[in-house]
Amino acid sequence: MNKPRNNTPVQPSAHRDNAREDAMDAAQGTAKKDVTVPTLGARGMLRWGWTQLTSMRTALMLLLLLAVAAVPGSIFPQRVQDAFAVATYIEDNPQLGPILDFFQFFDVYSSVWFSAIYLLLFISLIGCIIPRARKHYHQIVSPPPRTPRRLQRLPEYGAMEMAAGGPTPEQALADAEKVLKRRRYRVEVRRNDDGTGSVGAEKGYLREVGNIIFHVSLVGVLVFVALDAMFSYRGQKVLIEDEGFVNALVAYDNFYPGSWFDEEDLEPFSIRLDSFERTFDRQLFGGEPNPNYGQALDFVASLTVQDSPEDEPRQAELRVNEPLNLGGANVYLPGNGYAPVVTVRDGEGEVAFSGPVITRPDDGVYTSMMVIKAPDASPEQLGFVGLFLPTAHDTGEGLAVSIDPELGNPELHLNSYYGDLGLDDGIPQNVYVLDTEDLTELNSRESEAGGIVLAEGETQELPDGMGSIEFEGVQDYIALDIAYNPGTTWILVFSLTATAGLITSLFLRRRRAWVTVETIPGVAGTGSEEPAPGPDAKGSEHGRTLVRYGLLARGEDFRLRDENIALRTQFEKIWPVRPPEENNES
């Protein structure tokens, strides 16, 4: 008879709690006991713990936990995105802030608890894949599983009794083998001595292969995300028209290196901003501005770049969705704005500050925040805070707003202060923020002197002979992000193999089929003989060949019924099957 094969005595941990394995084993009548809790002892406990960690249920729990743990990162500001927002949040919530900070709620994705969850998940994953891959390899190289004793218990089942002139059991077995092979099953025929026997068949091994590729690829993605984070760097640089930049640590405004970043990795390419062009929506609907009038449509920075000091300078264009690749790093255009050129003279008539001031656009019409610090001014240091309006429009209450993003009527609206700007304390300061607490106000809308309002080319004297400020003109600036991510290609490759594996695993069907051939006892082996005609017709029915077949799927298989029908149709094509009514004798 059939040797029991493929009968792994103990469920590998990867299959603990797997409902699909349970269902399959139950249907095949090969249900196995779970690994029982082993006898105590350190080794035993370790083994038991490992089994638990790599069970389906644990994987599920860890997955759900991971989902929950990711949520706080969308509720609280994160340092990876906006360290300044985090600082503000803690300042605004002096009670809660430090507690949240202690529990790493502002660094969720690098926090101990988040890392613990995903590391456990991936350990579980590896502990899950290895035994499963081994078991699956074993299944691929060994013959299809042994024939269950009762095919009737399988989800899809059929039986056919051969009509007169039908095949002998030997013939039926050979035919069944052929049919199954044609349907791309891997088959094994198990013959008994009396000519009867069974065929075991299986197909869809790729389903499990796909599943394993999917899970392995997830590990690949994680590994390369980690490597990428270690070797990457990312920096920011603001470039004003006609200004240049050489890729070196000192040249960056902000720089975020990976933990294994080496300064040597910076390729010495250089970039110069020649000009910058903005395009806005200017379409009129029936003579009226359209609802999106003034919306930005296109930003183009014209650059002169040099891949290295030895290379020839060349022209390049940088746009929002089209990064520029230089020396392995990508250069992006995340922002732009106006840089009004301002000259500040102090109380002694000396130039205390002169040059373009980078402003921060706040809205679609480029209402821009600006800060000027003139620490060299004497007798008092000077500071200015206010707005740059590209197209200023007086609302009538002495308040001006910008009504267009382009330079229609550029104006500076500033307050001025004098006092100690605090720059000499050695505490690093945000250049875009002026702390006015310890300063004395000179100009503001509330003050006697009023606020500073300057059109292009105008100069205004500060009160008390503190100096003057001149608005000379406007330049453009662009914000550059420079990112070096050596791992992205491999992350993408593994994401795609994961998807391919996923699709294979979800939509390919893994099926087992068995066909048994018997003769009804009494007239064994005479299936092909013409039954003797006469009154004893009923007895002769028992001398025919009986074919049963059953189908089983691993996991969901909505088409198992169709497979049943297809098999039956093919069998009926080659065999003379007795019509069903004649069998419904009882």
Partner: protein, 367 residues
Amino acid sequence: MTVAPLSAQLSPINVELAEYSELFMMISAFIYTLAFILFTVDTARSSATIRRVEAELSAEQRERTRATALVGADGPDTGDNSAPAEHPTAASSDLVDDDLAYIGTRRPLANVAVALTAVAAAAHAFAVISRGVAASRWPTGNMFEFLVAAALVVAVVYLAVLTRRDVRFLGIFVIGLVVTMVVAATIGFPTPIGHVQPALQSPWIAIHVTLAVLAMAVFTLTFAMNVLQLVQSRREKALAGEPKGGTDRRLAKAQFMRLVPSAFSLESWAYRLNAVGFVFWTLGPMITGAIWANESWGRYWGWDPKEVWTFVIWVVYAGYLHARATRGWTGNRSAWLSIIGFVCIIINYTVVNIWFPGLHSYAGLPE
């Protein structure tokens, strides 16, 4: 119409076509509402429907006993006679089929509702496509367009499934959701037609957002199925044992639920669709999202609130797929996971878009 020069790649908005788009949007919303009302009436009158279906079925039964040659598991069983494994379908008796095949076809109200849905979807499709043509771009550039497109895909997927399977029992839920989405888009996020900002002018928008819309549409359908599964499973339990409390008793008597397939069948159909939705979600929001982010922002993943929720949704549905293969987690528990996944999607498109600031602030909402 004056045409001012635009940037090289963009052609001006076609105002006339845009107006037609808005008109057809209104028309389709109106017809969807009619279809929804008819589905509701059909549901409310399910006892009459059931009587008719039962009459039809018994006629068919007589016909069938005369027919010959049954195939497969329904076929004869020589030898020891044992039926193929039965699923617990008893509760829905034989009014509906586990394969969701059409049995009783004469449900005039529901059929008219389906026809109206088709007409509405055609008008809806015209509205979406003409808006895209009018602006010479892919019509998913803001919250309004996204919702309207998602509603269209929900309706089209529903109609497509209807051609193969009898999912009329879902009509009231699906068309109810479509109406909600269209109305929410029109009232909550009215956005005049226009070009999109530079960051959105990328071919990836077509792939990334379309896959997200497709996934969302599929998850919407499975959400309805999983909710019904929970109700049906409770009803099956109430019918099998003694009902506990008034809700169970009312459920046991609920005629409409007899037109809904068994909990088991709903679960496997929802699983089948969720698998498709998960692949869309993996390819769309996750992978093409990361590719585009890398191209536009210089990092493939930055844990922006929108990205966080995209990840959460992916993990929840991965959990769901796992649960379906985990002992003790099939059935109602996995249905809950699928429902939670859908709730996360709703959060992602409402709360996150509106209240959590981030790079994905393209909703086109007024400041």
